[in-house]
């Protein structure tokens, strides 16, 4: 029978179908970070259980780490959490890329970089943006702490098979429009719950044309559309990610040849059927900017802030609340919105290509008077690569701050936070109330749009910013 990519991966990983109708699914790779794991390790200890497959489990620290002075963590509670991860990993034999490691980074940047993420795998992490790894043709999704404990103890999860949805991106992107705009547009179309219960497969010529890093940007925000996993079938671009450069945990030589032959068998069969299909014409996409407090509250940079009357898919009170929180009035052109802060970073847009494109655009320009710009690489390897290319110098010359790797102002758990009322153009993935600091106002955009806003002090259509 013809199968989709998801069905192939699912079938290959079912250990057993259980009497209650759920399946025990084998997990090939378990990624761990400091915030959602301590209670799981503690649970294991209390039940006198151990980590079944420490060799398939890899940890890093990202959410709670400082991005400036890494040697002195001022907050004792943060420090205790970081120390707990060090101890838990050393007790259980799990490899950890901690603050002293040159591989440390945001868990979803670190995994692919080190070759821990390979096509055909099942990958989980106690983090909803685990969907990022689906860019490689993996089944990857976020889990809660109880499930982290379950995977540590059993290397499996009990799962109910999701429905499948194909999202076909047709056509060609305009210049200045990016993978970030593609995914924001999709979320605007289906809403933040539109994908609930589905695994999305992104397909079509516009997806094929994307680099691996751009594909990660698309898959990253799958969860913002309500779907736990999004995936893209492996192709030549995927294979090249592993042949162009050696990656520590990826197969090499003959083993890589064998792996590639397997990866080529993974794409959905031509006659496979999906439970639902969505088409997005990318030619028509223009740069996107969120105006509200959920990623589905998004519009074109050429548009105005909408009011509740124009939005039948939202509850009126929710739109009114969002506008009030954001300090915006319906009818204001998006390009009239002034910003105080620019955050270039997060697991959505902090990889080397993001930094290169942003640096190319900001080179020879200055961050506008009164605007603060923070550039936070996704991982230490990304930081070193960027520095070897002189990108840090370009950012600093334009007036931006250059930091060590971490989640930083994406969730503002460390000291990188917005003040109440501050307005930020952010390349991250969530614009929830208070996400970047209590009272802070977040507008999600692409790195290019963020740079243009940094230079002008307000949003501009990056297509006209040359």
């Amino acid at each position: 029978m013809a199968k989709t990519l998801f069905e192939k991966l699912w079938d290959a990983h079912v250990v057993e179908v259980l009497p209650d109708g759920t399946s025990l699914l084998y997990i090939d790779r378990h990624l761990v970070h400091e915030v959602t794991s301590p209670q799981a390790f503690e649970g294991l200890r209390m039940a006198d259980r151990s980590v079944r497959q420490p060799g398939k489990t890899f940890a890093t620290m990202d959410h709670n780490v400082p991005t400036d002075d890494r040697d002195n963590i001022a907050d004792p509670v943060s420090k205790a959490q970081i120390e707990a991860l060090v101890e838990n990993c050393s007790d259980s034999g799990v490899t950890l890329y901690g603050l002293d490691s040159d591989k440390q980074g945001i868990v979803h940047v670190m995994g692919p970089e080190q070759g821990l993420t390979l096509p055909g795998m099942t990958i989980v992490c106690g983090d909803s943006h685990t969907s990022t790894h689906g860019a490689f043709g993996t089944l990857a999704f976020g889990i809660g702490t109880s499930e982290v404990e379950h995977v540590l103890a059993t290397q499996t999860l009990r799962q109910t098979k999701a429905d499948t949805c194909k999202v076909e991106f047709t056509g060609k992107l305009q210049k200045g429009v990016t993978a970030k705009d593609m995914i924001l547009k999709l979320i605007g179309m289906i809403g933040t719950a539109g994908g609930t219960g589905y695994v999305l497969e992104y397909a079509g010529e516009a997806i094929r044309a994307l680099s691996m890093e751009e594909r990660m940007t698309v898959c990253n925000m799958t969860i913002e559309g309500g779907a736990r996993a999004g995936m893209i079938a492996p192709d030549e671009t995927t294979i090249e990610y592993f042949t162009a450069r050696e990656r520590e945990f990826a197969p090499k030589g003959e083993a890589l040849e064998r792996a590639i032959a397997y990866w080529r068998s993974l794409p959905s069969d031509p006659d496979a059927t999906f439970d639902r299909e969505i088409t997005v014409e990318v030619d028509k996409i223009v740069p996107q900017v969120t105006w509200g407090t959920s990623p589905g509250m998004v519009t074109d940079v050429t548009a105005c802030v909408p009011g509740p009357d124009a939005l039948p898919d939202f509850n009126r009170v929710d739109v009114e609340r969002a506008l009030e929180y954001m300090g915006l009035t319906a009818g204001t052109p998006i390009t009239d919105i002034k910003i105080d802060t620019v955050f270039l970073g997060s697991c959505t847009n902090s990889r080397i290509e993001d930094l290169r494109r942003a640096a190319a655009l900001i080179e020879g320009r200055k961050v506008a008077e009164g605007v603060r710009m923070l550039v936070v690489p996704g991982s230490e390897p990304v930081r070193k690569q960027a520095e070897s290319e002189g990108l840090d110098a370009i950012f600093k010359a334009s007036g931006a701050e250059w930091r060590f790797a971490g989640c930083s102002m994406c969730l503002a758990m460390n000291p990188d936070q917005l003040q109440p009322g501050e307005r930020c153009a952010s390349t991250s993935n969530r614009n929830f109330e208070g996400r970047q600091g209590k009272g802070g106002r977040t507008h999600l955009v692409s790195p290019e749009m963020a740079v243009a806003a940094a230079v002008e002090g307000h949003f501009v259509d990056v297509r006209t910013f040359v």
């Binding site: 250990v15 079944r52 106690g126 809660g144 499930e147 059993t154 219960g197 309500g226 969730l411 208070g434």
Partner: protein, 210 residues
């Protein structure tokens, strides 16, 4: 975890859709490595004024909702981050159940609860009950009319009963596996470990072929 069959308690309403887990428990509370003490963080950005006192504006601070154990809210509750701390905070604050509507829109169906949140809830014995939009709307109305309104949730019968002069009740659907899990208060890991032989066999097979 203890099993639950029925629960009776006061109903509180929170009239907001897409309540995300960043709202349910903001990040500053996620630094803790313990499993307890999260109730102070529940909805903290809404619940407290800058000086740390309770905000009179926020629904759950109203006297009539102080001892509520059932939270009725709007669609797509618990979206966003996978943080299980959100469920811990709700449970530790004293809620036994959250009720929300699925909503049918032109663009498709919007579920009551986000996936990861609903999964985390089951693991902690928190009932997440999905009703229709009309039914939830009706409950919002009843809570306004009858201060201190109580509800019984009958899990085996899959019913919620609203205790007014004239009782009203609504039926809800729940996956059989989830229902059994909640009623029996099962330890997932212990059950999975009973399948260790199958996991061993799977690992042996994939190691040989891989």
């Amino acid at each position: 975890m203890e099993g639950v069959e029925t629960h009776r308690g006061i109903v509180a309403t929170l009239d907001r859709a897409n309540v995300d887990t960043d709202q349910i428990i903001p990040k500053q509370y996620l630094k803790s490595i313990k499993r307890t003490g999260f109730e102070t963080g529940l909805f903290s950005d809404w619940r407290y004024l800058p000086d740390g006192t309770l905000s009179p504006e926020f629904e759950l601070n109203q006297e009539r909702f102080r001892r509520a154990t059932v939270l009725v809210t709007r669609n797509n509750f618990g979206c966003g981050s996978s943080r299980e701390h959100a469920v811990w905070a709700i449970v530790q604050y004293g809620f036994k159940a959250v009720i929300a509507p699925r909503v049918d829109r032109a663009a498709g169906r919007v579920p009551a609860f986000a996936d990861i949140f609903a999964g985390n809830a089951v693991k902690n014995g928190l009932l997440t009950i999905q009703l229709s939009e009309d039914e939830v709307q009706a409950i919002f109305g009843m809570v306004e009319r009858f201060p201190g309104l109580e509800m019984t949730i009958d899990l085996p019968e899959q019913r919620v009963i609203l205790h007014m002069d004239e009782e009203e009740s609504f039926r809800f659907d729940i996956a059989p596996a989830v229902k059994e899990h909640l009623i029996r208060g099962l330890d997932d890991i212990a059950i999975t470990l009973e399948h260790s032989a199958a996991i061993d066999a799977y690992e042996a097979k994939t190691a040989a072929s891989g």
